[in-house]
Symmetry: D2
């Protein structure tokens, strides 16, 4: 097996806290194993344009604790075409990059998979997304931080909810995945949690709120994952307010502040381990895979395996949330 | 002058971080000066209903660091009527309360002023509102914390803005007052700040953004105070996006999370000093006044004086913000 | 199997963030399953004295997000004696408590085990300690928060280290366990990490520092777990300073601030799940066990099983820390 | 008056959060007023060595929110000699720097004063130190952040103190100045505060603790400023423990973590305003001065004026702390 000499690293899709820690680990572990590491700016867009920079230990100094991604990210329409991917491959070849490490969500993973199928470019994907919606790893980079950010915001809103007689609907991120909603809901003491994986009827919700109202609660928080079938926080709040007058109803949409911020220790350590493992994986001949950490062990799963795994539906977590919201 | 024996304390209007520190200071200073302190729940609503509780040192233990208000707050329509105020006064008389300390914004102050005019109930108002829009004091309780909360959120959003090529519009609180917007804007490195006190045309804003775009900035933040004449963050963003395509435009509305949270040292110390001063002021015969701290000195201003003072229009701060946003 | 009617809950040993979330979950899940829940104040000390209080849903309102333990904790010498434990059992019997849930570390667990052996008092232990040094669960309550607190402090100290040419030794908690040290060290970008499980010679450390010094690092952080064989941070720093002059050496001991603070989402969810599981475990006849969560699954392990399991020695984590500290 | 063309900026002495915001403001305001700005690394040490770098708008991008100082700081023995200062001046002349802006404490200010006396080098000093111990300005850069850091640590320690029956002595920074101690003590609800400006006898302290103990307080915090005449926190705690057994006494020394961290909005705005004012001051002919902000107004005071002003002795603040600690 010919060993790689020059490895490209990039971030793609939505940014997530801890991506910088992963870049740092890739660069440092790469140098430790005598590789040259090339940074690719702005994801697939920069790959197509050949926006490359050689990276040294100093390039990644003092970034471990920073949110966002120093290599920047972008969504590239051109890369979705075969022509775009061929351009990107030509750039990589010109730069003599013989392996890729990409940090991002499932869209980014699919991009690398196509580059591999069409051009035999070896790669390891590192799962970086706040949504935690990728099988093959217990946690994705950024999820721990984002959930803490959501919980900190919920704590602040609870202060206000308790000071007035108020019902707050708080919308958190997670278009297809209820992870942030369920865990910030349990941690925030929500009376109800609405996730994309399960439809919640307004009837049920009102029943739940009535039950807790009758116990003389003076405030309540409902957590809503964005983009679920049950409607947005704004829509649900409006329907509830119409039939439920003894609370004053308010809505807060946490939005993009969940993406940023200093990563937690957990996301930094997860990213550091995955960065080292990605380098060691490429070196050991792994390709067309995502690195994951499952119950403390590093594993590599093929693209096709991961895409065919069912997603978590949070049954037991919802059960616990209900017990705790009496 | 007959000295007071029993003083009522309450919070009213929107809650603000530091209100609990003010309540604690009123209770402890009251007991220090041998007064009985009665807590009034839910502002003027609880006053009308006679929702009172005697307060001891232990009643206020471990609340110094908590957001919100342990006495709860409410907006009372009934108190806006003369009949409502008479009811409230009867309750106070029945409870033998001979002085009031109310913590809140200008609406709360006006309520106490009317109670004083109609029933000679002596009072001192403590200014507690995150908006910092009350003359007669350099700072109101809650403003320092709220501005830090806004800046922390802006810092997180900047991580994402820098990772993509994005223009973010961030809406902060301050319906009639630009304090939070200007100071979080300067502290957050905003390219433009839109405040209620000054109209900003879309033309100017686009010119400003064009200028910074031409300097190759890869991201920009615009801070918008809610409810200004120039429109909401959402409306302004929409108009800008139409004519300005090289940035991807996003909006985040910080909303109620700005009200809550652990108060900063500044708000706790401010609240503690104002609480002690309110007790000492009542004892010294002050009435129909608001306590303020102006350049480190405690002062008392009559209701009429404060209401006739012009508000700050932030001219020099806006000038500095412009110099720094080149 | 006779079902329990009345369950006592207490916290014992050093406090840990998330203990309140566990108490809340025990109380709410207990009430959900129609049990009466009795709070026992000040651990075994309060048990011996009969310092009990019945707990309702309202008793645990608004405690989810608070550090420390509302039931207070203490270390009891009397309970270490057979007589003390008999007194405690008599108090429990008088109060008609027929099951116990104790939240604490291995000392607390051993206490319950003895009460079980001597008096057949059924119990489930919930592991709550920042040290994460108990087998039978992936994580103990409080560890995630404490590690984040350590990392936040390290981030602040790094600002100063980078601004001057300084070598900082930072002492973190973990008398017998390197978890906090290793994970805060990786997350904080430490150049070296000294843990109790492994002896580090001053020679090795100086070699490591020399190597990184020769790469022109302008600052370095060394993380030291308290109480290891290699000496305290203060002792190690002194030895290093003597032989190593181009850095100015400073020491910071994080100490008790690592115990407190608002728990992270992770500790709140972990504590909530363990609290529910403890109630459900007792109901299902589990006794003389600790509840643990191992790879997302609730498990129960007998006292003897847990005490005979080897502890983690962090081999692979140390390897990764070394790769990343080049 | 000849206008300046090239202005040097540097940081000196202990670092303080907000120094980066001040550097950014100096650079941006300088460029706004068509000056060239030269960064001087490592304070007077770098000045002597000619360690200079031209600064652009991009040089200061994304530093507003960072602790520490990007220009680094150092303490230079050589600059304390006339020869050292002559060397420094030669370097400045060679670089065609015709004005200086230095950010630091009173030692840094004295350095610039000597350079001015001996070589007529015009300068404006910006007060940057967490101790807030410089007359001529209401606040120095870094003080607000450091006090909040201290209070956050106190909040965490209080969790633990309340969970056990403990008396904590917490040592905060402020070798000659009680600002951090008094304000973090009031904000943290300390039972006693020991500052360098006033001697506190152990007798008084024990009396105070006895009084609060007799009111059944279950925990207490004492704040001690480092380096006061009354002894270190460790020494005081030892003396108290000897005579006072019903509390378990613990000590925490906050140390260097008070220097770092993301600056608060207040320190960023203060630093931004002072940076702009320093440039505008130099341009207007100010020299041998420190810029200050006194009750919202920018002022310039000569070195001699500032050094002859008495320092604050916190009389009224101590009085309030005593009232609140009943």
């Amino acid at each position: 097996m010919t060993k790689m000499k020059r490895i490209g690293v990039f971030t793609s899709g939505g940014d997530a806290p801890g991506m910088n820690a992963a870049i740092r680990a890739v660069v440092r572990a790469g140098i430790f194993y005598k590789k040259e590491i090339i940074g690719i700016y702005r994801g697939y867009e920069g790959m197509i344009e050949g926006d490359f920079v050689p990276m040294e230990v100093r390039s990644v100094s003092n970034i471990l604790q920073r949110g966002g991604t120093m290599l920047k990210s972008a969504r590239s329409k051109e890369f979705l075409t075969k022509e775009g991917r061929t351009k990107a491959f030509e750039q990589l070849k010109k730069m003599k990059i013989d392996g890729l490490i990409g940090i991002g969500g499932d869209g980014s993973f699919a991009g690398m998979h196509h580059l591999y199928l069409e051009h035999k470019m070896p790669y390891v994907c590192i799962p970086g997304t706040i949504d935690n919606d990728i099988p093959g790893t217990d946690f994705t980079i950024g999820y721990d931080t984002a959930t803490n950010t959501a919980v900190n915001a919920i704590d602040k809103i609870r202060d206000t909810a308790l000071s007035h007689n108020r019902l707050f609907f708080i919308e958190v991120m997670g278009r297809d995945s209820g992870y942030i909603a369920i865990n910030s809901g349990i941690a925030g003491g929500a009376v109800a949690i609405i996730i994309p994986e399960e439809e919640t009827s307004i009837e049920e919700l009102i029943e739940k709120l009535d039950a807790s109202g009758s116990q003389n609660k003076t405030s309540s928080l409902v957590i809503v994952a964005e983009g679920g079938k049950s409607g947005s926080a704004m829509e649900i709040a409006k329907k509830v307010q119409e039939r439920f007058s003894y609370f004053d109803t308010k809505v807060t949409i946490l939005g993009h502040l969940q993406r940023g911020g200093t990563p937690t220790y957990f996301d930094r350590v997860l990213a550091s381990k995955m960065g080292v493992a990605a380098i060691e994986g490429l070196e050991a001949g792994q390709t067309d895979v995502m690195v994951g950490i499952v119950h403390k062990e590093v594993i590599f799963n093929k693209f096709d395996e991961i895409m065919s795994q069912p997603k978590d539906i949070h049954k037991d977590d919802l059960r616990i949330a209900k017990i705790l919201s009496i």
